[in-house]
């Protein structure tokens, strides 16, 4: 403010002053003038006392004149309180001001401050209460009142006042904080956190609000949020003890959550953080016992959860590193426990009257002593931990938890029972007490009491782990056995991941056959982390890994188990060591380390503990190493001692021996030694299978009688169907020739057997497989019908091929895909293979279930190609196929040498080549086809590659290469008729210079090998010859070929149609009645043979009948023709024919129901022109009609 301005203001003030003074002099009785003058002097007169005094004088007069002016009293109050220190008067003035205007916050606050300073709290409260009652807008009063209530712990009143005050001061962080506190004390935690949150929002340095909301979060169990709040508080005030305490306990809570889930490493790292925070806090406030208790809790939890790590993973494994890692793990746990013990002692030293600390120390002492080697061996009469528990009890004898602790810590069962029962007397619904009581009774072998106690515990609290574990451990006593026990134990493990429970779970899994389950794997892995010193946990882990076919891991675990035994002497029996060694040998053998397995077995033998299983492993490993003699001699020993063994293991040994013998010295010696064995060894289903298999391979049937007796012991449904399949397969072998298996016998056997077991998937799929495998392919349509597709993944692997594969192969093998859409073709196949279009869908499901399965993709491609071919290669299908093919061909499997992969690759390349050809890309087509023929596959198949090359060159009009490829095709030949037929067509289409007899001869050769379907193929060949003749316009010979074809294959309507058509053509040329009657005969057969009415057939019939003069038959056939076309495909000519029919019917109106009457002849003509406007004939007729 500049000086001039000041001066101006001063002048203005003077002017106003004089003006007002004059007015006052004029009207001395006017209170408002007086007040205004006072106000002017008070506000503008600066801090000079004389002005204030003057102002006060005027206020006094004004107040006297108008005793209802609250403002005057307020100013007087200010004057007395600030300038004269006359608090009595000031109080009175303020009181008056507030009585007059309760909303005046300034006076109110001043009054209350004065009352507060003089300690008159009751008066203060009364003033505020009065003001708040008088006016709802006296927010200052509500605020005061709220704080006062809060101060006196009247929480619900405080909430009301504070809520009201907040309406007046919505951005006052203090009010929100106070409201939060009030809510918190009332137990309304959500409301409290919201209020605190608002306070923090308004002012983010509110440590109190942060800490308290953190505490609430901890209380309601959302540790993560709580930790966040405390961390924020610590950012503002890093030395805040309660924030540090909260953070540490939040981290502790979080880590406990982690550990209940089984995430030990995570939990441990959280605990390390928590421990650091607690330690810092201990230094900040060393004489707060709860901080030390928290530190103790953290360290104790750490000692209980710190997981073992195997040490350096890359390092070569040996006993020393293992021992070192165990030692350092133990050391860490021990140190943590010791630290916990010290911290609890500090806490106790600070507050020795706190009973729970004695219990904590007792628990810690118990943990420490349990870490020692000889725990439980030296029972002092008066254990320290027990004594400490008693200390807690002597201070607070009515706490049932202390009794419980005593029950756990005591070393004497009688004492335990007493303590637990005492605890239950104090709180009968303590599930923990019940379950410990159950445990105690179990140890005392009081099974019934134990079960009752466990049942009580579970009914009180089903989420407690111990009773479930107790139930599991109890299972042996009761009959409904291991599965139930496994379930109970699993539940216990899921509720609380304790190493003891987990080991128990793995044991039960071993008994109940659940070893491969991943729940068991997870449990046993955790058990190893928490109990690495127990050989049992490693051993069980090895078993679990082995059950999951992870042999390397299993081997490592077994080795660890052995190390664990070695470093803790005296605890393990020899039997245990032997078990581990046998398991190790087996895993080594399965993992492919035969030499190591042999070493193990040698060791066992040296120890003299090599049992039957061990010998088997030994012999097997030796055999794998190529030491056949040794293996055999071992196996012989095994068999010679078999009679002394228990029945099933004897059978196992004997079957092992037989297999080994067969592999090493062949069929004959196997058979001869089987014949030498005692008969009673054969009384086993497993062995019966082996006998049957050997019998199947033996052409001289030496084992006939043995096999038939042993089959009596096959009883289970599964085994019976398996045996039927085996017999079917043996029929294949026994009745087959050198080059060809006896499929027919196998099929007929299976068909018979299937009557007994119509639902056996194994048998159905085998039958389907056999049907597909027959060389001539005449049963393919049945094959896809009899296989069973099981969409559940695990079931699909029964038998040699899965249902999906059989279905896919079957539908590819069936040439007719059974497309129901007549847009593309009119199916004439009599077998009605219905699964055609469905197959593609099923195969897509298959591929979706097993995207890695190259077979699935391969079959899908072939099926889609089939569909594409039938639909004349529509663009979208070609695109799909190309994509699928590129994915399929990029599979590295196809770079392998094995025949099946090479064959599939060949087919895929042919597909790709075909697609390229159809898309008009000849160069790609040639390239792919060349790649395909360069593969190493039999000529039989390679032929088709060259055939495709022929076609490609033909399209390119490269006749030189065409000729060359053609010759190559002839050279390499094929057994597949279709190839030769195609070749024949190529030959005729492109006038290839050749001795045409060659192909016909080779075709005839080909036919001879086919017994059942040669006539079909001969008919097709004749059809082709006929077609060629037609192309050459040699109709007579064409008729001859076709009639030959009709004779050969008497059921195919297609052939008859062709024959009929050519007869009609001949008849047109020669107009011979005989030919016409041939035509009618063939066409009639075509009609009767086909499942759906074929188009053209009836038309030709009509013409033929018409030519013979029978108008009635002409009409009838023409009408039939109308219905044999699907509506959208009717050709122009059909409409035209209908016009003829309609015109004829116009003349003799008799049956109006016929189809031609639905339209006039003119309309029919118009429709035909509409369909084909380029035909002059229609136009002419139209002209005629309209004339």
């Amino acid at each position: 403010m500049s000086k001039t301005q000041e001066k101006e203001e001063d002048e203005e003030f003077r002017a106003q002053l004089t003006h007002l003074e004059e007015s006052v002099e004029d009207h001395p009785e006017d209170p408002s003038l007086r007040f205004n003058l006072g106000l002017l002097l008070w506000e503008k007169g600066g801090q000079f006392k004389e002005f204030k005094e003057k102002a006060a004088e005027h206020f006094v007069i004004s107040a006297k004149l108008n005793p209802h002016n609250a403002a005057a009293f307020a100013y007087l109050g200010h004057y007395y309180s600030r300038f004269t220190a006359d608090s009595q008067r000031a109080l009175k003035c303020y009181e008056r001001a507030i009585t007059l205007n309760p909303d005046d916050s300034e006076s109110g606050e001043s009054l209350c401050d004065m009352l507060d300073h003089s300690g008159k709290e009751t008066l203060e409260q009364a003033v505020c209460g009065e003001a708040s009652e008088k006016s709802p807008r006296a927010f200052w009063a509500f605020r005061r009142l709220g704080y006062l209530h809060l101060h006196h712990r009247r929480w619900s009143e405080a909430v009301q006042s504070l809520q009201h005050a907040i309406r007046g001061y919505p951005t006052c962080a203090d009010l929100w904080e106070a409201l939060g506190l009030a809510y918190q004390r009332l137990g309304m935690f959500t409301a409290a956190t919201k209020s605190y949150g608002r306070a923090i929002e308004l002012d983010d340095t509110r440590v109190f609000a942060l800490v308290e909301s953190g505490n609430i979060f901890l209380m309601i169990g959302s540790f993560r949020k709580g930790v966040e709040q405390f961390q924020r508080a610590l950012e503002i005030s890093p030395q805040n003890v309660s924030a540090n305490y909260g953070l540490a306990s939040g981290l502790l809570g979080l880590s406990k959550e982690c550990m209940n889930l089984g995430a030990f490493k995570w939990g441990a790292s959280l605990l390390e953080d928590a421990g650091k925070v607690a330690e810092v806090n201990g230094q900040l406030a060393g004489n707060v016992s709860c901080i030390w208790k928290l530190h103790g809790d953290i360290q104790l939890t750490y000692a209980k959860c710190f997981p073992w790590t195997k040490g350096d993973h890359s390092a070569e494994f040996d006993v020393d590193t293992f021992e070192a890692s165990i030692f350092s793990w133990k050391q860490t746990c021990h140190l943590a426990a010791m630290s916990a013990k010290r911290s609890y002692q500090r806490a106790l030293h600070l507050v020795p009257w706190q009973a729970n600390l004695y219990i904590d120390i007792g628990i810690t002492l118990d943990l420490i002593s349990s870490m020692n080697e000889n725990y439980g061996l030296d029972l002092y009469p008066w254990q320290l931990s027990e004594k400490m528990a008693l200390g807690g009890l002597s201070l607070e004898g009515d706490n049932y938890e202390f009794w419980l602790a005593l029950g756990c810590l005591s070393g004497h069962n009688a004492m335990k029972q007493h303590a637990l029962i005492r605890g239950l007397q104090l709180d009968v619904s303590s599930a923990v007490a019940w379950s410990y009581l159950g445990k105690l009774y179990r140890e005392e072998d009081e099974k019934k009491l134990a079960r009752q106690a466990f049942d009580c515990a579970r009914s009180v609290d089903p989420s407690l782990a111990l009773p479930w574990a107790g139930m599991a451990a109890d299972a042996n006593a009761r009959e409904p056995t291991t599965d139930e026990a496994f379930e109970s134990c699993l539940r216990a493990v899921q509720i609380f991941p304790l190493a003891e429970f987990q080991v128990g779970l793995a044991k039960l899994a071993l008994l109940s056959g659940n070893l491969a389950s991943s729940q068991v794997l997870g449990a046993i892995q955790q058990a190893v982390l928490r109990g690495p010193q127990y050989p049992e946990s490693h051993h069980l882990k090895g078993l679990v890994c082995e059950a999951r076919s992870e042999y390397e891991a299993a081997v490592a675990s077994y080795k660890l188990a052995r190390c664990a035994i070695n470093i803790s002497p005296g605890t393990a029996s020899n039997a245990h060591l032997r078990d581990i060694a046998v398991n190790l040998a087996r895993s080594l053998c399965r993992a492919g380390y035969a030499a190591d397995a042999v070493e193990e077995c040698k060791y066992l033998r040296k120890e003299g503990v090599l049992d039957a299983e061990g010998i088997q492993i030994y012999a097997f490993s030796l055999w794998q190493l190529g030491k056949c003699d040794l293996a055999l001699s071992l196996a012989r020993d095994l068999v010679s001692s078999a009679s002394s063994l228990e029945k099933t293991s004897a059978a196992v040994s004997v079957s092992f021996f037989c297999r080994l013998l067969y592999y090493i010295s062949g069929l004959d010696s196997a058979i001869s030694s089987i014949l030498k064995m005692p008969r009673e060894l054969f009384e086993n289903s497993k062995f019966s299978f082996i006998l049957s298999t050997i019998h199947a391979l033996d052409q001289s049937n030496r084992l006939e009688s043995v096999v038939s007796t042993s089959r009596y012991f096959i009883v289970s449904h599964e085994d019976v169907t398996g045996m039927h399949c085996l017999i079917a397969l043996s029929k294949l072998v026994k009745h087959g020739s050198d080059s060809c298996l006896g499929y027919q016998d196998g099929i007929s056997y299976l068909k018979k057997a299937l009557h007994k077991y119509p639902n056996s998937k194994l048998m159905r799929n085998l039958l389907s497989h056999l049907l597909l495998s027959t060389e001539e392919g005449e049963h393919t349509h049945v094959a896809s019908r009899c296989c069973i597709i099981d969409s559940s993944y695990y079931g699909s692997k029964v038998g040699l091929k899965s249902g999906w594969e059989l279905l896919g192969a079957g539908s590819v093998a069936c040439y007719a895909i059974g497309n129901k859409d007549p847009k593309f073709s009119f199916p004439t196949c009599g077998y009605q293979c219905m699964k055609g279009p469905g197959a593609i869908r099923e195969l897509q499901k298959y591929l979706r279930q097993e995207p890695w399965n190259h077979n699935a993709r391969y079959l899908l491609i072939l099926n889609i190609l089939q569909k594409a071919r039938e639909e004349r290669f529509p663009r979208q299908l070609c695109v799909i196929l190309k994509k699928l093919l590129s994915v399929a061909l990029s599979n590295e499997l196809y770079s392998r040498e094995s025949f099946s992969y090479q064959y599939q690759k060949f087919q895929l390349l042919l597909c790709l080549s075909e697609i390229s050809l159809q898309c008009g890309n000849q160069s790609d087509c040639i390239e792919h086809a060349r790649r395909s023929v360069s593969l190493c596959i039999p000529n039989n198949y390679r032929f088709f590659g060259h055939l495709l090359l022929c076609r490609a060159y033909a399209v390119e009009e490269n006749f030189v290469n065409l000729q060359e490829e053609y010759i190559r095709c002839l050279e390499i030949k094929t057994d597949y008729h279709i190839g030769l037929i195609c070749l024949k067509i190529m030959e005729s289409q492109y006038y290839i210079e050749t001795d045409s007899n060659i192909s016909e001869l080779s075709f005839k050769d080909c036919l001879k090998e086919w017994k059942n379907s040669w006539n079909m193929w001969a008919a097709v060949f004749n059809l082709v010859l006929g077609l060629i003749s037609i192309w050459n316009e040699d109709f007579l010979s064409a008729e001859a070929f076709l009639s030959q074809a009709c004779l050969l294959a008497g059921t195919d309507s297609c052939l008859f149609l062709c024959h009929g058509a050519i007869c009609m053509e001949l008849a047109k040329m020669s107009s011979s009645y005989q030919i016409l009657s041939f035509a009618i005969r063939s066409l009639t057969k075509a009609n009767t043979n086909s499942i759906i009415p074929l188009p053209i057939v009836s038309l030709l019939m009509a013409q033929a009948e018409g030519s013979l003069g029978s108008k009635q038959k002409w009409e009838r056939n023409l009408r039939l023709e109308w219905y044999s076309w699907p509506p959208e495909m009717r050709p122009a000519e059909l409409f035209f024919q209908m016009h003829l029919l309609a015109r004829r019917s116009e003349v003799q109106i008799d049956s109006s129901s016929n189809v031609e009457f639905c339209q006039s002849p003119l309309k029919w003509i118009l429709r035909s022109i509409h369909t084909n406007p380029s035909c002059l004939r229609y136009w002419k007729v139209l002209q005629k009609i309209t004339e």
Binding site: N287, H349, S394, L395, E396
Partner: protein, 321 residues
């Protein structure tokens, strides 16, 4: 009247040092400092260099109290597991092991004649007296409870007895409780005389003036040191100055000063004539659990010595003059 630091030993124990007392000099050796710690050991130190004479092990939990027989021949140490070990100072031979129920051994002191060992009985709300000849329990002086004795009463912990002190004439015994009351007993009649009131938080340490059997000093968690007329059942004065709990108090042999140790990490010297702290030693890094003046006696030792022990694992020795 002042204190001067003589020697300080860092990491004298592996853990917090909780208790200290002087073993009076005998004819063969000077007075020794006896300390007990959370690390479960008891150590003997030889002044002025604080040379470690011996480490006694054997306790299973932290040592909360040590006491020395006026003859200087035997001493006792007590740990949280409520075992009192009485041993020969020079040979460390165990003389007796006194066992009490858990939570029932806290501070202890031999009577000036050395015939009785008084042990603050913690949760039993009593002081146990052990005969030092037979090591038999001879009496249990119970603090009367306001509501009458009910064993399962929650309030029993209110009278948790933490500290004990003999009057220099051996006729009176005072004990301090968790609720801040001090009880005075007539030892000869084994009778409770009266309470001394004034503190409202645990009284962790008590000491009679060596020159006046009526005067009792008390240290409490309420951060005050009180001076009582123990016979007259009245408080003479209250002295404030510590910023935390006062954990320990001891009176100088000449009776003109007291020293206190506190959780505010300081040791204070109070002039009783001025009734104010005259000196504050803040060389400890953590709370000071014990202070002890060396009793007079011994050959050629006239200088006053004060020892203090702390949670920071260190022991400090001061010259008091």
């Amino acid at each position: 009247m002042k204190l001067a630091g003589l020697k300080s030993i860092e990491n004298a124990h592996d853990e917090s040092v909780w208790a200290a007392t002087w073993v009076p000099a005998t004819t063969s050796r000077p007075a020794l400092l006896l300390t007990g710690s959370l690390d479960e050991t008891v150590k003997l130190w030889k002044p002025d260099e604080l040379h470690l004479e011996r480490t006694n092990t054997g306790h299973c939990l932290g040592v909360v109290a040590v006491a020395a027989h006026p003859s200087g021949i035997i001493a006792a140490s007590a740990s949280l597991d409520s075992f009192v070990r009485v041993f020969d100072v020079d040979t460390n031979a165990s003389i007796a092991t006194l066992e009490a129920p858990p939570s029932e051994v806290w501070q202890m002191q031999f009577d000036p004649k050395g015939t009785t060992l008084a042990v603050a009985g913690g949760g039993s709300a009593s002081v146990k007296l052990w005969d030092t000849a037979t090591w038999k329990l001879i009496a249990s002086l119970s603090v009367p409870r306001p509501e009458g004795p009910k064993p399962s009463d929650k309030n029993s912990s209110k009278k948790f007895v933490l500290s004990v002190s003999w009057s220099p004439d051996g006729r009176r015994l005072a004990c301090g409780s968790m609720d801040g009351t001090i009880s005075v007993f007539d030892v000869a009649r084994a009778k409770f005389l009266h309470h001394l009131e004034g503190h409202f938080m645990p009284v962790r340490s008590l000491v009679y003036s060596p020159i006046d059997p009526r005067v009792l000093f008390s240290a409490s968690d309420d951060a005050h040191v009180h001076m009582y007329d123990a016979e007259g059942k009245s408080m003479i004065t209250a002295m404030s100055g510590h910023a935390g709990w006062v954990l320990s108090v001891d009176a100088s042999p000449d009776g003109s000063a007291i020293a206190t140790g506190s959780s505010d990490r300081t040791v204070r010297l109070w002039d009783l004539n001025m009734r104010a702290a005259v000196q504050t030693m803040s060389n400890h890094a953590d709370q000071v659990w014990g202070v002890a003046f060396r009793p007079p006696g011994g050959t050629g030792v006239r200088a006053g010595r004060l020892a203090s022990v702390s949670d920071d694992k260190s022991i400090s020795l001061y010259d008091y003059s």
